[in-house]
């Protein structure tokens, strides 16, 4: 049952049926009431007209003898109607006339309780299958006898056919309500199912998405307006997943490639060396060359581990005050020889202190600077500016040189990514420097971005 209540189709179907039942019942009650009211008015009007006739006749009565004669006359003029019953009580409350077989209820005949205009009263004559519903009114009518007590006249009519009509009306109403509720439920069920079909289709499509089908996108035009936001959001999610997956795939491929090259070098070199006897110097050369490869491999593995651990939140930077301008100046000092070789002009402006891991931040900045030095042409300049933006400290590293095409910019922080594929294996590191910088900045809760224009390239770091 709980499962049913969780179903939108089930709940909406139930709701539609309920609403149509309630609405129809209210409508039926209203109409029934109006019809009944109409019947009462009709009956009362008819009975009043009879009373009016009695009044006119009674006004002509001058003596008790006249009254007796009148009763007979009334009997003739009124009782011609089959459904009509009559009761007349004289001034001293003796019954002058009563239609046979009809018992007027005593409540109707209390002189003190009679109102003008008269109030109708309904009662059952007889019981069981022969029960006969009656509606009656009573009035006190004056006679022509001066100072005489008025005569009580009560009229009643048989309302069996009215009661039958109402019973049949109620029966029909219940039937209509039942059918309408069923119909509303059914139509609601169909409509809701139909309207929810796109959702099901989306579900089916999502179920079919696997790592190899991440290029699938939902057709936003084909879904109802209310589902467009959902479809767009799902598409966005798919796009991000696809991008991340692509990066992971590239990473695995690059990783294999990065490992294969030095290992293949090592194998070839060693096997060639072993293929015949050589002098100790030659062996020494081979071993030294191998060591260089090993060192590169070891460094690469260490850096990859660092990135992986940082990305998995395993590296928690310590927090100490770090003077950025001071760090930059120390790094300039470190890179001084390199910069001088290329006649680069290094400068730092501004000032700022952040809270972070000094060693890690220094490493991040060192990678940015060595990257800048590598890509700045001879006689170029590298400018570092430290400033504040809102609550965060910013550090800009700008270098003159060729702009980086946009397709490379977005992937520049990816592991092993090199804007220039020909730099592969040129001994300039594994292409992990900027990825490490990014990981360090992210581990500090900061942000890093890069932009490129005609004047060169600018990296921007923001730290909390």
């Amino acid at each position: 049952m709980r499962a049913h209540f969780k179903s939108i189709v089930y709940r909406l179907t139930l709701l539609f049926a309920l609403i149509s039942t309630v609405v129809l019942l209210m409508l039926g009650a209203l109409i029934g009431k109006a019809i009944e009211q109409h019947f009462v008015e009709q009956d009362v009007e008819w009975m009043n007209s009879k009373l009016q006739l009695a009044r006119t006749l009674l006004e002509k009565v001058q003596s008790p003898a006249d009254l007796a004669a009148l009763v007979t006359q009334l009997n003739y003029s009124l009782i011609g109607h089959q459904n009509l019953a009559l009761l007349i009580r004289g001034p001293d409350d003796q019954t002058l006339f009563a239609t046979a077989g009809i018992d007027f209820p005593a409540a109707l005949l209390v002189r003190g309780a009679i109102r003008n205009p008269p109030q109708p009263l309904v009662w059952q004559q007889g019981s069981g299958a022969h029960a006969q519903p009656l509606r009656g009114i009573a009035a006190l009518l004056p006679t022509g006898v001066a100072g005489g007590t008025p005569v009580l006249v009560a009229v009643a009519i048989d309302i069996t056919h009215h009661a039958r009509f109402m019973a049949s009306f109620k029966r029909s109403l219940w039937q209509v309500v039942a059918v309408a509720a069923a119909l509303a439920g059914l139509l609601g069920w169909l409509a809701v199912r139909r309207e929810l079909a796109p959702l099901q289709a989306m579900g089916m499509a999502a179920a079919g998405v696997t790592a190899s089908h991440l290029d699938y996108r939902l057709a936003v035009d084909a879904v109802p307006a209310e589902l467009e936001a959902l479809a767009t959001a799902l598409n966005g999610m798919l796009a991000r997943l696809e991008d991340s997956f692509q990066r992971l795939k590239d990473f695995s491929t690059d990783l294999a490639h990065e490992l294969r090259t030095p290992i293949s070098n090592l194998m070839t070199e060693t096997q060639v060396a072993l293929s015949r006897a050589r002098s100790p110097d030659e062996y020494r050369d081979v071993l030294a060359s191998n060591t260089e490869e090993y060192e590169r491999l070891a460094r690469m593995i260490g850096e990859m581990l660092f990135i992986a651990e940082a990305d998995n939140g395993l590296i928690v930077p310590s927090r100490e005050p770090v003077d950025l301008a001071n760090e930059v100046r120390e790094l300039f000092d470190f890179f001084d020889a390199l910069a001088e070789e290329k006649a680069l002009h290094l400068s730092v402006t501004g000032d700022g202190q952040v809270s972070g891991d000094k060693l890690m931040l220094r490493r991040a900045l060192a990678n940015l600077l060595s990257n800048a030095i590598r890509h700045t042409p001879v006689n170029g300049r590298i400018r570092v500016h430290i400033g504040r933006a809102g609550n965060s400290t910013t550090l800009l590293v700008e270098n003159s040189g060729e702009p980086i095409p946009p397709e490379h910019l977005s992937r520049i922080f990816d592991r092993f990514y090199r804007a220039d594929p020909s730099r592969h294996g040129s001994g300039e590191g594994a292409g992990l420097g900027l990825a490490i910088t990014r990981s360090i900045i992210l581990a500090h809760g900061g942000e890093i971005a890069v932009r490129s224009g005609d004047a060169g390239v600018c990296f921007e770091i923001r730290l909390g």
Partner: protein, 227 residues
């Protein structure tokens, strides 16, 4: 100088022993934590090299036990993981230095020598260092070679001083970066090569006898014996 090496990985242990013996140390090799602790407590060592992942007793436990009896013994520990936790834990337990595997042997050797020098307190406070025809006047910050005055920048002077103080030792690039520039991470640049080249241009190139030699794949060494 006697060194205790506790390392369970067969090849690593053998090569550490071989390398250290060839560098002039007396080496005892233990293959597990219990043996290592026993040797460490009974033998008289100048330094211990501990692997973290060891059978029977791990490196932390050995280190903690050793610290109770041998407060002064310098300990360098080797870890396969680069995690801050390991580093912090090791230093808290009283390790003096640590190296992350894989490491360069030259790096290990340089660190071992640094530790031994630190604890033996035999730092050379000489005011004048003289090697062959090179003279370094530490007080006046002046360098002469064959009587000829050589102008060096502050960092070049520091670099030359380091090479001189540790002459005969192969100094890896990472150690030089750490000692001279306080850069304690691997840099993928050739800063050290360039710095050495510039230093050589000033104090080696125009002289017949080259003091600074490159040991391929390992680092740089300053030698006063012409080979």
């Amino acid at each position: 100088m006697k060194i205790l090496v506790v390392e369970d990985e067969t090849k690593t242990g053998d090569y550490l022993r071989k390398g250290l013996v060839e560098a002039g140390f007396v080496v005892d090799l233990a293959r597990d934590g219990v043996e290592g602790l026993h040797l460490g407590e009974s033998g008289d060592y100048d330094l211990a090299i501990l692997d973290v992942m060891l059978p029977k007793l791990d490196g932390w436990q050995v280190l903690a036990s050793l610290r109770r009896t041998k407060r002064e013994l310098p300990v360098l520990f080797l870890t396969a993981r680069n995690q801050v936790d390991d580093r912090v834990k090791g230093l808290e337990l009283g390790a003096d230095d640590y190296l992350v595997k894989p490491f360069a042997f030259a790096e290990l050797l340089a660190r071992v020598r640094t530790l031994l020098r630190r604890t033996s307190g035999r730092s050379m406070q000489a005011e004048l260092i003289r090697v062959a025809d090179l003279e370094l006047d530490l007080r006046r910050r002046r360098v002469t070679r064959a009587g000829q005055r050589i102008d060096l920048t502050a960092k070049e002077f520091a670099l030359l001083e380091l090479l001189l103080r540790r002459r005969g030792e192969v100094l890896p690039r990472s150690l030089i970066a750490s000692q001279i520039w306080d850069m304690n991470f691997d840099s993928d640049t050739n800063v050290i090569e360039v710095a050495i080249r510039r230093l050589r241009a000033k104090m080696d190139d125009s002289f017949g006898f080259k003091l600074i030699r490159t040991v391929r794949g390992m680092g740089y060494v300053l030698n006063d014996d012409p080979e």
